[in-house]
């Protein structure tokens, strides 16, 4: 459905001057520094997938989204999405996609939300029936009812984001690009947005590509992640694979009574009668550990925790030296 092959994009940035003489020199001749934003990026995405596109700031996430949504022209590479080349067939192609940029608004700033929706209906030539149905569905699931008649400038960030997501789905897109959709939202709004993304993915088979820095988004929504850093794709796999590879560490919290003998294995912390261990399950299995500990103490209670996904990602970034 989405095939991206060898995309590269370089930006040229005029060099800033450190001293006056250089600044004067550059008045005559400008020097440019080439910044490689994307370097030979390829991936395929199937219909109905939710893909998390992650990477540190400046890795090339937004540039990729802009290229595959047809608004930037890459220097090299080919791309076939729904049978279109996005930047060549822009006008036809964008009818089939929806895009939300968390930091930009696609609604008209000074008119009520519903007016923007009506205009989008005309722009996308949405049949009245489809429009009514979608509007009703979106109003119910995103709780837009009270927001529709307010001008966009009077909405809070969370309210606006719900309206934005609504706007991007009015025309039944087959693919939805979300560039940091939960940025700046409170916990409740985040949850609403995530639930909604899940719903439309399941019910309408919308393919979703999501960039985010919020790892909860990734954990709750995504079944596959693509990691990009310094313009290159570093990793492409399921979240579970990543967890297995980088998230093998677990913390175990054991509450005990009756210590038989002193501990002679590495312990992270003892707090009263609580013992905290950090183990790597790739090296030692859990039953082994528990067997071992029960030789020392009588175990009352055990708490096992995964490494939080945030820490996994930090490890991932470190591993690839990002």
């Amino acid at each position: 459905m989405i095939q991206v092959q060898g995309i590269s994009k370089t930006f040229y940035i005029a060099k800033r001057d450190k001293c006056v003489i250089e600044a004067l020199k550059h008045l005559v001749k400008r020097e440019y520094a080439a910044v490689k934003a994307l370097d030979n990026v390829s991936f395929n995405i199937k219909q109905g997938e939710i893909v998390g596109y992650i990477g540190p700031n400046g890795a090339g996430k937004s540039t990729t989204i802009k290229i595959i949504s047809g608004i930037l022209v890459p220097d090299q590479g080919t791309c076939n999405i729904l049978g279109y080349t996005p930047w060549k067939d822009r006008k036809e192609y964008v009818k089939h996609i929806g895009v939300v940029f968390g930091q930009r608004t696609q609604l008209w700033w000074d008119v009520p939300v519903i007016d923007s929706y009506e205009l989008l209906k005309d722009i996308y030539k949405i049949p009245t029936n489809t429009y009514q149905n979608n509007l009703e569905l979106l109003t119910n699931t995103l709780e837009l009812k009270e927001l529709l008649y307010k001008p966009v400038r009077q909405l809070s960030l969370g309210e606006r984001m719900r309206c934005e997501i609504g706007a991007s789905l009015l025309h039944d897109p087959k693919i939805l690009f979300l560039d940091e959709p939960t940025i700046g939202l409170d916990a409740v709004s985040k949850k609403a947005v995530r639930n909604f993304i899940k719903t439309i993915n399941q019910e309408k088979q919308v393919t979703v590509i999501l960039t985010t820095h919020d790892m909860r988004d990734i954990e709750e929504l995504v079944n596959r992640i693509i990691l990009i850093g310094k313009g290159k794709i570093l990793l492409d796999g399921s979240l579970n694979e990543v967890k297995l590879k980088f998230g093998g560490e677990k913390t175990i919290l054991i509450t005990y009574s009756n210590q038989h003998k002193p501990f002679d294995f590495p312990v992270e912390r003892i707090n009263g009668n609580q013992l905290r261990l950090l183990i790597d399950t790739n090296k030692q299995s859990l039953p082994q550990i528990i067997d071992m500990v029960s030789e020392y103490v009588q175990i009352e209670d055990i708490d096992i925790n995964h490494l939080p996904i945030e820490d996994i990602i930090v490890k991932l970034y470190k591993e690839y030296q990002l």
Partner: protein
């Protein structure tokens, strides 16, 4: 086509909501109108030579200028479009199945027409009630009036096509002020808004007639006051149409070039 009309309609209705701005504008335009009239009155009374256009005709042109200011001025700026270019929100426009040139064109046209719609009648009515020779009068006959309407409509289409070039140039300059200032100053001089074209030296007139700027407003206003013969008026309508096509083609080509090398500003 429908989407461009819908946008036009939305912006037009929105434009009509700014009544206080219009009222303030009307007062400003009266002030300017009187100031221009006084300057030219001083000029006419101090010179004994016969001028190519008489004072009362000139007064009428000045009132028309003030009444249809929104159709004339090249420095009319749409900050939303400027921000889209400079801050990168143009990304959103490009994600829609529309032609950007036509989309912006309808938007700008709506803005100018709604603004003119609110202002021109009050100004002309008050000017109509002033004593001679400061008053505004009806045209000589119905045909001049019709020619005036046709050329005025074509004129505003040309103004919008010209201002599209200003906005496209911002893809390169990334500055709203610079592009508008340069275009505004040069364009308005060449449109005869600073010195009326009949009063310009002949050499300058020849240059001005070769450029599109005077076809925006100088032409319709002079048809109204009867300073352009009917035959010439008809030829000028053809020239207006030709200029409109040329400006449209230049704008379209330039825009598609600009979009190819577009950099979306800011993340």
């Amino acid at each position: 086509m429908r989407s461009y009309l819908a946008l036009f309609q939305m912006r037009f209705i929105r434009g009509l909501q700014y009544r206080t701005a219009a009222l303030a504008g009307i007062f400003t335009q009266f002030f300017w109108g009187f100031m221009h009239i006084m300057i030219f009155e001083a000029f006419y009374t101090s010179s004994s030579a016969t001028q190519p256009i008489n004072f009362h005709q000139l007064v009428n042109m000045l009132w028309l200028q003030q009444a249809f200011l929104a159709f004339i001025m090249l420095w009319f700026r749409d900050n939303e479009i400027i921000n889209q270019i400079i801050k990168g929100d143009i990304a959103i426009e490009l994600l829609r199945p529309i032609k950007l040139y036509e989309f912006w064109y309808s938007r700008l046209l709506a803005q100018r027409s709604s603004s003119a719609m609110l202002r021109f009648l009050p100004i002309l009515i008050v000017a109509f009630l002033l004593p001679y020779p400061y008053n505004f009068v009806l045209p000589q006959d119905i045909i001049s009036f019709l020619l005036f309407i046709v050329t005025l409509c074509l004129g505003v289409l040309i103004v919008v096509a010209l201002s599209m070039l200003i906005y496209i140039s911002m893809f390169y300059t990334l500055s709203g002020t610079g592009s508008i200032l340069i275009f505004g100053v040069i364009g308005e001089f060449l449109a005869g808004l600073i010195i009326p074209i009949p009063l310009m030296p002949e050499a300058l007139q020849r240059i001005v007639y070769l450029l599109p700027f005077r076809y925006t407003t100088d032409l319709p206003f002079r048809i109204y006051v009867g300073s352009i013969p009917r035959r010439e008026a008809l030829i000028s309508i053809c020239i207006q149409v030709i200029w409109l096509i040329i400006l449209y083609i230049i704008g379209k080509l330039w825009m598609s070039k600009a979009l190819k090398r577009l950099v979306i500003q800011g993340g």
